[in-house]
């Protein structure tokens, strides 16, 4: 699995380094250029959040595309590895990229903390965080982001494997439909099993307007039971994806 990951990283090295540089440059432009044009702290914080969100989506798309290439590639499929290893390598790839982005984000927060910007952002109400979990906030946020990414990624891998098994026109539309159906089913199941309580003590990130970011929390998150439910769903997604790779995915 790690060897597969090694070749994914080698293949995408140029794009990954380029992406990291673009992200850092974009953040520097927001930070330094923002000061030059008189952009307030609020505007800079919202723009930074939007930048991270765009890159998180790009990472998701990149990891899905890497998975799609791997399961169709004759060279990869000839190697003596089980289908689970392809899924595992792809999940590790997405986690690795997200972790790198989290490190960059973490460094930015440390910088803000060191120069007093973070305190100002919180005091002026530009950033509002409602946190009720006993976990320390930085660890909690990192865990929530990585868990959310893992959950979404396993669903997308299943959709990709179904898409690459079909030999019909409009496969992208079918995939989109599958994402909508699966997301709705999972939400409906969580609502009915856990009475509408979220799995996360932090229900999301929200840029309310151009000058404030809210991270709304929930005092009554269902907690561990929802994580267990999501873990079961992840296992089912991974199993179904591996079956699709074994039996149905078309190899070029």
């Amino acid at each position: 699995m790690l060897k597969l990951l090694k070749y994914d990283v080698k293949r995408d090295m140029f794009m990954l380094i380029g992406g990291a540089i673009v992200l850092i440059v974009a953040l520097l432009v927001i930070e330094i250029g923002g000061r030059q044009i008189g952009l307030g702290l609020d505007g800079a914080a919202v723009l930074s959040l939007v930048t991270y969100t765009i890159f998180a989506l790009l990472i998701l798309m990149g990891a899905c595309n890497a998975f799609r290439l791997n399961i169709r590639s004759i060279g990869r499929r000839l190697i003596p590895l089980g289908s689970l290893q392809y899924v595992g390598a792809s999940l590790l790839y997405a986690l690795l990229l997200n972790a790198v982005m989290l490190v960059i984000g973490g460094l930015q927060i440390l910088y803000y903390d060191a120069n007093g910007t973070l305190e100002k952002l919180i005091q002026t109400g530009i950033v509002k965080i409602e946190w009720y979990s006993p976990l320390p906030l930085p660890i909690g946020i990192a865990f929530i982001l990585l868990w959310g990414s893992l959950f979404l990624q396993t669903m997308l891998l299943l959709v990709m494997s179904v898409m690459e098994s079909l030999n019909v026109k409009g496969r992208a539309l079918i995939a989109l439909g599958m994402v909508l159906v699966l997301s709705s089913l999972i939400s409906a199941a969580e609502n009915s099993f856990f009475g509408g309580l979220g799995s996360s003590p932090l229900t999301g990130f929200r840029a309310d307007n151009q000058s404030s970011i809210t991270m709304p929390g929930s005092e009554s998150a269902a907690g561990v039971s929802v994580y267990l439910f999501e873990l079961v769903v992840i296992v089912l997604f991974v199993w179904a994806t591996a079956r699709m790779i074994d039996r149905k995915v078309r190899i070029e």
Binding site: K3, K6, S73, G75, R77, I79, I251
Partner: protein, 233 residues
Amino acid sequence: MAPLLEFESVNKTYGKKAALRDIALTIEPGRIVGLLGSNGSGKSTLLRLAAGLNRPDSGKIRVLGHEPGKASKALVSFMPDRPQFEKWMTVGEALDFQRDFFADYDPDKSKRMLEFMKLSRRDKASTLSKGMQERLQLTLALSRRSSLYLLDEPIGGVDPVARDHILDALVEFYEEDSSVIVSTHLIADIERIFDEVLMIRDGSLLLQREVEQLRMESGKSVDQLFKEVYAEC
């Protein structure tokens, strides 16, 4: 000694089209076998099933007693009819990929093959000419000390000089206690190296015979016989 490859009543369809019909065959160790058939006769499908890339609809396949899968892939070296290396790779990286995933990869053999094939590790694989890509494909397949080599059209689309070079490499570098199945429809160029031939038409196996026996029985070369059998298609 157990057969290297066994097919028992294997069927495979793609949609409504039958690609293989009730195929039964056995390949013993130490043979170079020609898998002969016209385009679309089912040669590639047969090799892909043996390599574990596709699953049969019915019937059984065994590679040294293993059903096609993770264990059999470690024993079989397959050269597909299209590039198996990735576009971004250099020749060296394509070989390193083999080294990283296959325990039977032999670096010394690989080095000798690179010299024989006049390939450089630094060359970008996707920019090589068609003939040089075929040489690289064969180098990737034969750099392993496998029990069974499956070569899908190794000389298709290359000039006669390159063909001879590729065939020389095949004879030089395959492992003598292993077997090689070479699919082709260019019989005249390659007939000299076969011990045995399999003829396949419309997904059905027409015959499996020793080359010498076939020549003696028919009084014709394999190429002549092939042209007669497939002239009706």
